[in-house]
């Protein structure tokens, strides 16, 4: 499994290292946040905020506690959950994420396009907690230990949650094994 080992805290080229982290993670962080919030404008704000916070707090990053990527996803998760709380308080309206990938699907063969559509709908039908685990693993590519750190649970619990979430996704997509 490829995990970024970028340490954005120290050394003269810390700025470059942070930029490297940004380049490798920005799209995935956005995908994760947008799936969680289901609101494009809010996802953009939260993604920008997550990188801003990560940059400000880079001195607090500890390489022994996980990869920079996991640390970044934890920051993004907190920012997204804060946004969810704010939205619940203020009753803000959702601006559903536009189906950006559907445009590309036209170039794919119909079976693949249909399967992706089914999976997308299945994922959207999942509970937020399950959807989050799937996204952190599939999109964030975090190890189970990093997943546990981001979700504030034990590693075995993270593994169990992940496996159950995959099972529910399969059910939601009507996949049989």
């Amino acid at each position: 499994m490829t995990v970024m080992a970028v340490v954005p805290t120290s050394g003269a080229d810390a700025g470059e290292q942070f930029e490297q982290l940004y380049r490798s993670s920005a799209a995935d962080v956005y995908a994760y946040v947008a799936s969680l919030l289901r609101d494009r404008a809010a996802a953009e704000d939260v993604t920008a905020l997550a990188f801003e916070r990560a940059f400000r707090r880079r001195a607090l990053f500890d390489v022994h506690r996980g990869s920079a990527r996991a640390w970044l996803f934890a920051i993004a998760r907190n920012a997204a959950l804060d946004e969810l709380r704010r939205r619940r308080r203020t009753g803000a309206l959702l601006h559903e994420v536009a189906d950006a990938s559907s445009e590309l699907d036209e170039d794919l063969d119909s079976d693949l396009a249909e399967r992706r559509l089914v999976v997308r709908e299945g994922l959207a039908a999942l509970e937020a907690r399950d959807r989050e685990v799937i996204l952190l693993k599939f999109v964030g590519r975090l190890s189970n230990a990093e997943l546990a750190r981001v979700l504030h649970c034990s590693e075995s619990n993270a593994g169990t949650r992940l496996h159950r979430a995959i099972e529910r996704l399969r059910e939601a997509c009507g996949v049989t094994r």
Binding site: G15, S35, D62, R115, L135, G159, I166, R177
Partner: protein
């Protein structure tokens, strides 16, 4: 089996998932999972190009701003917060340990000298007894017990009052008064320092300076003290004062005053009995003239009883407290650890004293700050926990 435990096939599937995400080959039975991963990743929301550009610009701007930061800020960036906290904790612990060692008296012999080495008045209250004296200045101050203002007298009296003596003498006990004279010789230049140290040594033994007379006048310098300490601490005071300069003479007198005390007690008992008899006679007196005569006798007996009470108290005080008469005469400068230290020792002592003071202040500051810091830490931890719970709740209800 725990709720969190997975069976072998489930664990194998998670391992396969890690291999899929790492783009490593997996077995046929996991191709469905690989397709699922691919679909999820392909279907994940993508950034709007305009937003991606804005975010790029924002990140690039941040990097450029950081490039212009000063060297100090870069240094702070390089510091690992945890290491910094550990180092600070270690420093504080070392400071506390060092302060404990200092205050426990390991360096007591050295620190005693500090008053001399630094000059001036090392403790408050001494000023009332020992006025500052220049090379040609002459000063004479007398401070009788009980009238001296300032902490010297106060602490001394408190210590004397706390001494382990009873107001009356136990049966078969002896009442002894100890009285000593000590003559020291000191270099004229060190006279003032020795005088200061004598006062400090007396305070440390819980005594008081009854009278003091310090005259700093070159080769005619002279100092004399009459010190009063609890009887049991006289030896320690003599040892402490003797260590300050060369001892020329030491005279120790022990006077058993038990007989005088017993005689006074007997006289008191007689007079009390006489007073009782006179009171009986007074009650039975037939005439006014007889009554007046008895009353006159009664008054005289009362006066004697009062005087005898005073005498008994005085004897008890003498037994409780010892006096030490110290005279410091000018003499040849003798190398002495306490007052005739070399420049390096003096510098060391000064540095040690300064360090001691700094550490004491730091310790006090630490003691004040610690409760606030712990409270702030607890509040921060509580707020963080509450916020995290609220976030998880938001996730559940999303």
């Amino acid at each position: 089996m725990s709720r969190d435990e997975l069976n072998a096939s489930e664990r194998e599937e998670l391992a396969a998932l890690d291999r899929i995400l790492a783009r490593e080959p997996v077995g046929e039975q996991h191709l469905e999972l690989a397709a699922l991963v691919d679909s999820v990743r392909a279907g994940a929301p993508r950034m709007d190009p305009a937003f991606a550009e804005r975010l790029d610009a924002q990140t690039a701007g941040r990097g450029a701003r950081r490039g212009r930061r000063r060297g100090g800020a870069r240094f702070v960036d390089r510091l690992n917060v945890r290491r910094l906290a550990l180092a600070s904790g270690g420093l504080v612990a070392a400071a506390v340990a060092f302060t404990i060692v200092i205050s426990s008296g390991v360096f007591a012999g050295k620190t005693v000298q500090n008053g001399v080495a630094l000059g001036g008045h090392p403790r408050s209250g001494v000023a009332t007894l020992l006025p500052a004296a220049g090379p040609r200045a002459t000063s004479t101050t007398q401070a009788p017990v009980g009238t001296t203002s300032g902490p010297t007298a106060a602490t001394g009296q408190a210590a004397l009052g706390g001494a382990n003596f009873s107001a009356t003498l136990a049966p078969n006990a002896r009442l002894v008064h100890r009285d000593s004279t000590l003559t020291l010789a000191s270099a004229p230049a060190a006279m003032q320092g020795v005088a200061n140290q004598i006062v400090l040594a007396t305070e440390r033994q819980g005594g008081v300076v009854e009278t003091s007379n310090v005259a700093v006048q070159g080769s005619n310098s002279r100092a004399s003290f009459r010190l009063q300490v609890p009887s049991g601490r006289l030896s320690r005071l003599i040892a402490a004062v003797s260590s300050l300069a060369s001892v020329r003479a030491l005279n120790q007198n022990t006077n058993d005053i038990t007989d005088g005390y017993n005689q006074e007690q007997a006289r008191l008992a007689d007079n009390v009995a006489l007073r009782a008899a006179l009171l009986t006679q007074l009650a039975a007196a037939p005439t006014l003239t007889a009554q007046a005569a008895i009353q006159k006798q009664l008054n005289r007996v009362e006066a004697r009883i009062t005087a005898e009470h005073g005498e008994i108290d005085s004897l008890l005080t003498q037994g409780r407290e010892a006096t030490l008469q110290v005279t410091v005469l000018p003499g040849a400068a003798v190398k002495h650890a306490a007052v005739a230290a070399g420049p390096f020792t003096t510098a060391f002592n000064r540095a040690l004293h300064a360090l001691e003071a700094i550490l004491a202040i730091a310790l006090v500051a630490f003691a004040i700050v610690l409760p606030f810091a712990l409270t702030a830490l607890a509040l921060w931890w509580g707020a963080t926990s509450v916020r995290q719970r609220a976030r998880e709740r938001a996730m559940r209800t999303a």
